[in-house]
């Protein structure tokens, strides 16, 4: 395979001097492309923010900073996790907008690369990378949150090569904007748990789907309830085999590690940005020392990520390192916003109020802090299971 599109080639070690070369290149590109308007987002409507984020997806694509680690033959750049780490770090420093197509780029896309048919790859990967199609993730249901295997939404065969979908998803981020849904649904009423689910690439623009926004405590509505009442999905949009959905939804091995690391990188980007803002609020005040301590913890996050990435690349025992990432970043995010609030900074008053409320979600989504600790306790420390009466 040819070297990366930018002629840099893949960096396989943090000792490589090209690390700094790549960093400079990314920083230069970001300085020229980050939209100036994003800095004022706290005085914008949600729609205005979404417009900027949508345009940003396009800009990233044009600059070839989307799919940094995707294979070149699928439109990516063929680089690795080290370059991804650098990109997110620099994006944070440059106050770049948050990605909008998180599910497309980090959940559905990578899985289609591995598990999809050639037809699916050709149809979906280009529009995911370009941001033309936004994706949502149809996992959680009212009675299937942490216990995802209990999904009740059912996709039943309906004539030639089609399934008919009935059910109720909840907490579905961006469903109101989404063109496609990465949908986990039952395909059997008889087969046992974990063997009765399938994964679909469902078109959100059709009859039989209603999306009801859930207003969050922030006042905004990023997530939704989604009702399926006879929506149709083609057999050609089934990923992998029928009844293979559990395997596709619960990543194991390397890909699980990569996803956790990507999640941590995205948060690290926000944290770097927030700390930069906080530095203005604490300048010359006693809280400057608090800011230093928080910054140290942010740096430790980046090193923990780097170490996890390195272990993952060498396929050494990485789970003990990656499984503690979310605990760290979620609690750090909340503390930064608390510190921001406490400064009573006139200039950033709305900023910290907004972020503070928003950050409350970080210890809930993707497995609450308590679940995170349970996972470490059972899978890393091998502690005895809780006795349930």
């Amino acid at each position: 395979m040819m070297a990366g599109a930018a002629g840099i080639g893949r960096i396989r070690s943090f000792e490589d001097p090209r690390v700094e070369e790549f960093r400079a290149r990314v920083a230069g590109w970001l300085a020229a492309h980050v939209p100036a308007g994003w800095a004022d987002r706290f005085s914008m409507s949600e729609d205005e923010r979404t417009d900027i984020r949508r345009a940003w997806e396009r800009t990233l694509w044009e600059g070839r900073y989307t799919g940094i680690s995707w294979p070149e033959k699928f439109g990516g750049r063929g680089l690795g996790p080290i370059e991804e780490l650098i990109f997110f770090q620099e994006a944070g420093r440059a106050h770049a907008p948050e990605e909008l197509n998180v599910i497309g780029k980090h959940v559905a896309g990578p899985s289609i690369v591995i598990n999809g048919t050639d037809e699916q790859r050709a149809r979906y990967l280009p529009t995911i990378l370009s941001g033309e199609e936004i994706w949502c993730e149809g996992y959680s249901e009212p009675d299937a949150g942490s216990d995802l295997a209990s999904v009740q939404t059912i996709a039943e065969p309906d004539g030639d090569g089609w399934y008919r979908v009935t059910g109720h998803k909840i907490w579905t981020s961006n469903a109101h904007l989404a063109d496609r849904c990465w949908l986990l649904a039952r395909t059997s009423r008889e087969l046992r748990r974990h063997h009765n689910l399938s994964m679909f690439l469902l078109d959100m623009h059709q009859d039989g789907i209603s999306v009801r926004p859930i207003r969050q405590l922030t006042g905004e509505a990023h997530f939704n309830e989604v009702f399926f009442d006879g929506a149709r999905v083609s057999r050609s949009d089934l990923v992998g085999e029928e009844h293979e959905g559990w395997r596709l939804a619960t990543l194991r091995g390397q890909r699980a590690g990569r996803q956790v690391i990507t999640g941590a990188l995205r948060r690290h980007m926000l944290i770097v940005e927030w700390l930069d803002t906080l530095s203005h609020c604490v300048a010359g005040r006693p809280a400057a020392s608090r800011h230093r301590a928080l910054s140290t913890r942010a740096s430790m996050l980046s090193w923990q990520v780097a170490r996890g990435t390195d272990l993952l690349a060498r396929d050494e025992e990485w789970f003990p390192v990656t499984s503690v990432l979310q605990m760290w970043w979620s609690e750090l995010m909340q503390e930064i916003t608390e510190c921001g609030l406490q400064q009573n900074c006139a200039e950033h008053r709305a900023h910290w109020r907004g972020l503070h409320l928003e950050a409350l979600a970080a210890t809930i989504y993707g497995g609450t802090s308590q679940i995170q600790r349970n996972v470490v306790a059972s899978r890393v420390l091998d502690l005895p299971r809780e006795v349930r009466k």
């Binding site: 140290t296 740096s299 430790m300 090193w303 923990q304 005895p384």
Partner: protein, 291 residues
């Protein structure tokens, strides 16, 4: 920059850990119960095995251990509290490019004056610098952390920023080793101790505390790795690692309950060691004379 020590170095660090464990065996958990001659015998083995000079050639030889490898060694060493001036001598040899089996230590600024660990070790040299060589004026400084055997000196060692960073890094690595050992023992204890008819590790309140201890040990080690890279805030990273290690050790005492608070169990020795090293590392952060 590196984020993991060379893979082929890890068995070496492990072997050093086994060496330390042999001299920690006399007492179950640390120095105070050791046979009186254990430190001297440990020192002899370190000398004869060439352990003290292992970091000295790193500036020239490509395959010699770098600071991250030495940190890995210090972490393995720190699992056991063997009261010998290993870390300071390891660095002293590295800085001098000499593998002479002379014990070395550094005097660092603290609120109690310049303190040097193991200042009364037979034949030890307290490193100086361009200025005058610190002399021992009072031994022991106090009896808070016997595993460090600090003495009061009449001056501090003049360490360049690079040397201060290296010393802070290895002290932090050593402390993380101790935290890892306390964590492992706490997990083992939670799997065998019952209360109200259940193993205490099955209670989420205990399991979550242990999960946090694991998290902090991991992030503490990441901070050591970071410190070993030589950024401007490396000493701050080392301090953060030591603070996390102390948190882990305190957590371990809590998990053990009443027995954790006893003198004999010895978890307090790790905490004392960590607190004393936190103070010394803070002294490095204040910065000595530039050189």
């Amino acid at each position: 920059m590196k984020v993991s020590a060379a893979t082929d170095f890890l068995p070496i660090a492990l072997e050093l850990g086994h060496l330390a464990a042999r001299y920690a065996e006399g007492g179950e958990h640390g120095a105070a119960d050791l046979p009186a001659d254990a430190p001297a015998r440990a020192w002899m083995e370190l000398t004869e095995g060439g352990w003290l000079g292992m970091g000295m050639a790193s500036a020239d030889a490509a395959d010699a251990p770098g600071l991250l490898e030495l940190a890995e060694a210090a972490r393995a060493w720190g699992r056991h509290l063997v009261p010998v001036p290993f870390v300071t001598t390891l660095l002293g040899c590295r800085w001098r490019g000499s593998a002479e089996p002379t014990a070395m230590t550094c005097a660092v600024s603290t609120p109690a004056g310049p303190l040097a660990p193991f200042a009364a070790w037979p034949g030890i040299e307290i490193l100086g610098g361009a200025g005058r060589v610190p002399r021992l004026v009072q031994m022991p400084a106090d009896d808070f952390a016997p595993s460090l055997a600090t003495g009061v000196c009449d001056a501090v060692s003049e360490l360049s920023p690079r040397r201060s960073r290296e010393l802070a890094t290895l002290w932090a690595a050593e402390t993380i080793g101790g935290a890892q050992d306390v964590l492992d023992r706490s997990v083992a204890y939670a799997k065998q101790r019952s209360a109200y008819g259940q193993l205490i590790g099955s209670y989420q309140a205990v399991a979550h505390l242990l999960a946090e201890m694991h998290r902090d040990t991991q992030f503490g080690w990441s901070a050591v790795v970071w410190a070993a890279q030589g950024g401007g805030d490396a000493i701050e990273a080392a301090q953060a690692a030591i603070d996390l290690a102390a948190d882990v050790i305190r957590g371990g005492i809590q998990v053990h309950g009443g027995i954790g608070f006893t003198w004999d169990l010895g978890l307090h020795r790790y905490l004392r060691h960590a607190i004393a090293l936190a103070e010394l590392t803070a002294g490095l952060a204040q910065g000595g004379p530039a050189s």
